[in-house]
Structure formats: C-alpha cells, structure tokens
Symmetry: D3
Subunit: 134 residues, 6 copies
Amino acid sequence: MTDTTQRQQRFARGKTVLDAIDGEAGANVIEALGEVSPELAHQVVAWGFGDIYSRSGLEPRDRQLVTLGMLTALGGCEPQLEVHVNASLNVGLTPQQIVEAMLHAAVYCGFPRALNATFTAKKVFAERGLLPVE
Amino acid sequence: MTDTTQRQQRFARGKTVLDAIDGEAGANVIEALGEVSPELAHQVVAWGFGDIYSRSGLEPRDRQLVTLGMLTALGGCEPQLEVHVNASLNVGLTPQQIVEAMLHAAVYCGFPRALNATFTAKKVFAERGLLPVE
Amino acid sequence: MTDTTQRQQRFARGKTVLDAIDGEAGANVIEALGEVSPELAHQVVAWGFGDIYSRSGLEPRDRQLVTLGMLTALGGCEPQLEVHVNASLNVGLTPQQIVEAMLHAAVYCGFPRALNATFTAKKVFAERGLLPVE
Amino acid sequence: MTDTTQRQQRFARGKTVLDAIDGEAGANVIEALGEVSPELAHQVVAWGFGDIYSRSGLEPRDRQLVTLGMLTALGGCEPQLEVHVNASLNVGLTPQQIVEAMLHAAVYCGFPRALNATFTAKKVFAERGLLPVE
Amino acid sequence: MTDTTQRQQRFARGKTVLDAIDGEAGANVIEALGEVSPELAHQVVAWGFGDIYSRSGLEPRDRQLVTLGMLTALGGCEPQLEVHVNASLNVGLTPQQIVEAMLHAAVYCGFPRALNATFTAKKVFAERGLLPVE
Amino acid sequence: MTDTTQRQQRFARGKTVLDAIDGEAGANVIEALGEVSPELAHQVVAWGFGDIYSRSGLEPRDRQLVTLGMLTALGGCEPQLEVHVNASLNVGLTPQQIVEAMLHAAVYCGFPRALNATFTAKKVFAERGLLPVE
C-alpha cells in the first residue's frame, strides 16, 4: 500500500466517524477549510476523528462530556462548541444533561465561561426545536 | 423554614444585589437563561450575588476592580465585561478609572486582552453618552 | 430555621458528598484552607459539592469526565487534577478511561496540556498501585 | 529635551514601525482608541512598536511567527490576529507559511484554536485576493 | 538629553516605584533576570513600573486589586502572585481583603484558580506572621 | 502493508524527527509515558513529529519560533518549554534570539508569562553553559 492510499484510508475512516457524530455541522467546517488549509481539514478528519475519536476506550457520549468540559473551559471556542452541542445530542446526551454539564462547569471555570457555553447550547437547542429545556 | 422557602430567600437576597449593581443588563442575562438553564440563572443570582458579592469584606467598587481584572485576563468574556463595565459605573468608578485599569492590565495580560477590554468599555461609554473619555 | 442553621445544613450536605467523592484528598484541601480562608473552604463544600455536585442531573462518573476535561484544558491546576483523578477512580472510572480522556484532550487542547494531565494521573496511579496501565 | 518631547519622539519612532508592519489595519486600531483611551494608543505605538518591535535581535518575519503562535494560543484575539496576518504578509511570510504555522499550532493548542486562527487567515487572504492557498 | 540618559532616567523612575511597592521581592526578580535577559529586567522596571504603574489615574491599592484579579484568572503565575500579595499588603490592603478578593474570584474563574491563589496568599501571610486570617 | 506495519512506520518516521530536534529531553518524555499512556507517547511521536513537524512548509527554526510563542502564551507548560528551549538551540536559534522572542512575548501576553518563560530558558542555558546571555 502506498503512502497516498494509506492517507486516503485514514481520511475515509475519520470521515465515517465525523459524519456519524457531527453530521452536517462537521462537514461544513471541513468544506470551509478547503480553500485555505486543506491539510488542516485532512488532519482534523484523519487524526482527530479517524485515529483518536474512533478508539474504543471511551464511548462517544463520554467523549462528548469531556469535550463539553474542555470547550467550556477554553473559552472563545463558540463555533466548535456549537458543533459539539449538536454532536452531544447526536450521540445520546439529553439537553438536560448538556446544560447540567455547563452548570457543573461554573464550579471549575466560573460563571462567565458557563454562561457563554449555555447560550451557545441555547442557540443549538432553538435550531433543533428543543426549547424550553425542563 | 422549608428548603424551597430558603431557596427563594437566597434568590431574593441576590436579586436585590444584582439589581443594584448590574441594573437592566444583569436582569436581561437572567431572563435569557430562563428557557435553557433556569438553574444556572438561579445560581448566578443566589450564589454569585446573594452569597458572595453581598459579603461585607470588600466594597462594591473594589469588587468591580477585581472583576475588571479577571474578565480582561480571561478573554472571550466580552458579554460579561459589558455588564461589568456598566456595573463599575453604577458603583462609582469613573470612565477614566476603568480605562486606566485596562491600561494597567496590558502590563500583566498583554495588549490584545487590554485592547479587547477597552473596546468593550468604549461601546458601553458610547451607549451612556460618556465619550470622549478625557 | 436560622441563617446559621441553614448554613450548617448546607455545609453538612456538601461534606457528605465531598467525603464520598474525594475522600481524604478533598478533606485535606478543606483543612489547609482553615487558617487562611475558612469562607472559601465553606463555599467549596456547601456550594460546590452541596448545591451543585449533588444534583441528580448527571451521574458522578459523568461529572468527573466533564471535570477531567476542564482541569486538563485550564492548565496549571495540577493539585486539583490530582484530587479529581482520585475522585474519578472513586466513582468508577478506570485508569484506562482516565488516560483515554486525556488522550482525547490532546485533540482539543494540544499535547502540552494532555501531557501534564497524564503525568498527574501517573502520580496518582502510582500511589494507588495501579501502574502499569494496560 | 523635555519629557513631552521625549514622549513624542518615542511615539514617532513607534509609528514608523507600526506603519511599515501593520499598515492601515494598525492605524485604524490606534484611531479607534482615540476617544476612549488615548494613553493605551500611545503605549501600543511607543512601547510595543517603538521600544520592543523595533529592536534588532529578531527579524520582523521571526517576530511575526512568534506573534502568530501567541495569538493562536491565547484565543479570543481574532481582531489582533487579523492585523497580524496582514502584518505577516507585509513582512514576507507567504500564505502557505502562515497556514502551516497554524497547522503546527494544532499540535500544541489543539484543533479549536487552530481552526479559529485559520478562518481568520482565510478572511484576510480573501480580502487580499490570495485564495485559494495551494 | 541623550537616548542613554533618557533610558536611565526611565529606569530610575520605575525602580523607585518598584522598591516602594514590591520591596525585596521585586528586586530579587530583577536581579535574577540579569544574566539571562537584562532587557526584560529593564522593561519591567522602566515601562511596567516607571511608565504605567506610576500613573496617577488609579491608586496603588486599586492597581493591586486589578492585579490580584488578573493573576488569579491567568493561572500558572504563582511566582508573580507571591510578589503581588506582598505588594498588596505593602500598599495597604489587609489579609482579609486579599482573601475576600480571591473568594470573589471563585465566581468568575472557578474554584481551582481561587484555591491556587489563596494558597499562595497563605504562604506569604505565613512568612509575614499574619496567620490565622480572621 | 498491514495497519500494524503502517503504525510502526509512522512512529519510526516521527522518532527520527523527535531525536533530531529534541534529543534526549524528548526521548525522556516518551519513556516516562510508557507505563501510563503508551498511546499518548505513540501519538506525540507518530502524529506530532512524524505527520506535522516533518512537513516541509516551515523550517524547524521557524516552527520553534511559533512553538516558543505558543508555550509562553499558554502558561503552565514549563516542562514542555524546557524541552523546546533545548530544541530551539538544537535547530539553530541563539540564546539571544530565544530571550528576544520572550521579550517580544511580553507585549502580547504580559510580563508574568514572559518572566516564567525567560526563567525556564535561564535554567536550560545554565545546564548547557550558555550563561550569561549578552
């Protein structure tokens, strides 16, 4: 197998995971990168999803809990958080669990980060007809 | 006293502080949370303002100086900084002191964070007819 | 019920959760705060554990996944991460899942944060006789 | 020489560097600060560019590589990154090198920061007719 | 006045402020830089203290409140926080006010940052015979 | 070629880069990970160095400038910064250029981050007999 084939296989494996988890939102990010950094697009898919996310050591819903925690803590990652709130819903977390994770985050990151994350979740929930959360 | 009464009392105490400090801007945040995370709204008010902000150990203007420092340093908290520039004016800090605090912040956080904070202050000052700062 | 009684009850409720989750490591932090900021000690227990962690919306193991993500992302929180690697083991996460969460973190926070978190986990695992992780 | 003259000279020296490196984008930031914090404007120019950037120990293109790394890592500095992607092009870095630096950043800061930086670069490249990057 | 004289005057002005605010702790940092980056030492003194800290727009105690907020929020700045807890005491903040500022910080930065800052304060208070704080 | 062979080849390619750039310091990190997260060790080498660092789009010295900027800005990454100050020297940056990059960082990240980075550089320079920097 050539390096090129190998590279395409790793991408294909990642794309399958990306599509299953992130759906259209993930595909849009990859497409938007095409003109400016096709290699970053490749690595997000081939490495991020193909090599790491697809590993069996943690269930997708558990990976999403870790990811919600990280993106809330980092701050300034609202576009990525939007993708991952969608992804969290796609892999079985409920809106209630997602906002509970962000309330939990207030204890460790403070209210400003928790508020920004929660308003990002609100935007996604509104788009998917999931408001109000009760 | 039941747990519910106790909870309502802590919220009421915090709401009084929030209204006095943040005014309409704070109330808008709480209202916007209602559909997505009423519990986060409750905790911001009952804990953040009722239990902590209301303590006598630091004057409101001193709390706002600490808060301006934190929000400038964290970055990505422009919505919260907007609320707290308003709050700082409400508790007696002058526009000159607020921009001086942000200039001071450049020494510890660098110019990008100081610039973002100062432009947020500019937006609030413009809304309140406080430009130019001299 | 007086305010003092109410305060003691919230603390007691939090202390029960703290002891169950964090064990000795959590108690040591609270004790070390006694001389310098007893109020911070009170709030960590009464609010962090009593009001928030104890809520039923997320299982303790799920809260720990979010927390591992946040503490890895924040950086510079090795003492707290040490407590929470212990807590994660206490509530049923395996060493394999913990290091997998930190590998997952590399995708979102980069290798330096993931490495620091993993070496903190190594220290805890060594103390509890859980090395090597296989 | 009076203090005032000295102050004007330091500003003038910095303004020459700023104009050469950042062009119109830098001048716009300085002008926008005028009404709210003329002293911050002065210090960005006189100290940031006059005293530090102008030093001979690192070439402008090398300073821009360090700056791209920092602004990507900090997060939430998209306005400053926009100025500095322009500056990087002005001092001789190619679009290919800029996006490669941001791909490199993914290893140390994670994908979300690298993505936000890359999309900021895309905006600048589009304005300057430099897309697609190949 | 030559550039060299001007440079020495700015340093001298900053050194006077540094000595008054930070005392021995500040002088030790400057001395430790001498072998590795005398220019960074110069700029901390001449710019940080001479040009910015010495400005009349905010009292030293107010600058220290902003600084405590920033250093707590940034994280990983324990050496600088140690210097600035000392400085805060030197300019008239009480141990009670310092720990109250750090409790206040928990609301905006979360408990881990507040805990790390408070334990740094504890170290300084212990060295100065100021424990327990009551 | 099997997946296992492919995995070993990517690791081998990365190991060659890692050894050339980071020398013994990098190898020690990889070895220390062996007992706790061999997969993280694999990914640092195979992906970080094999897939990304080895790309031809940026020279090693340019990658190190970006990396010094990122690690200084992130904070709390002193162990990684130590490895990368060594790496920077190994690929041809001089001690003068390294401390100049960290002085430059003060403008964008503030003095505390610049100081911590510079003291880490001092430690490495001392070990390699490169003090004083003149």
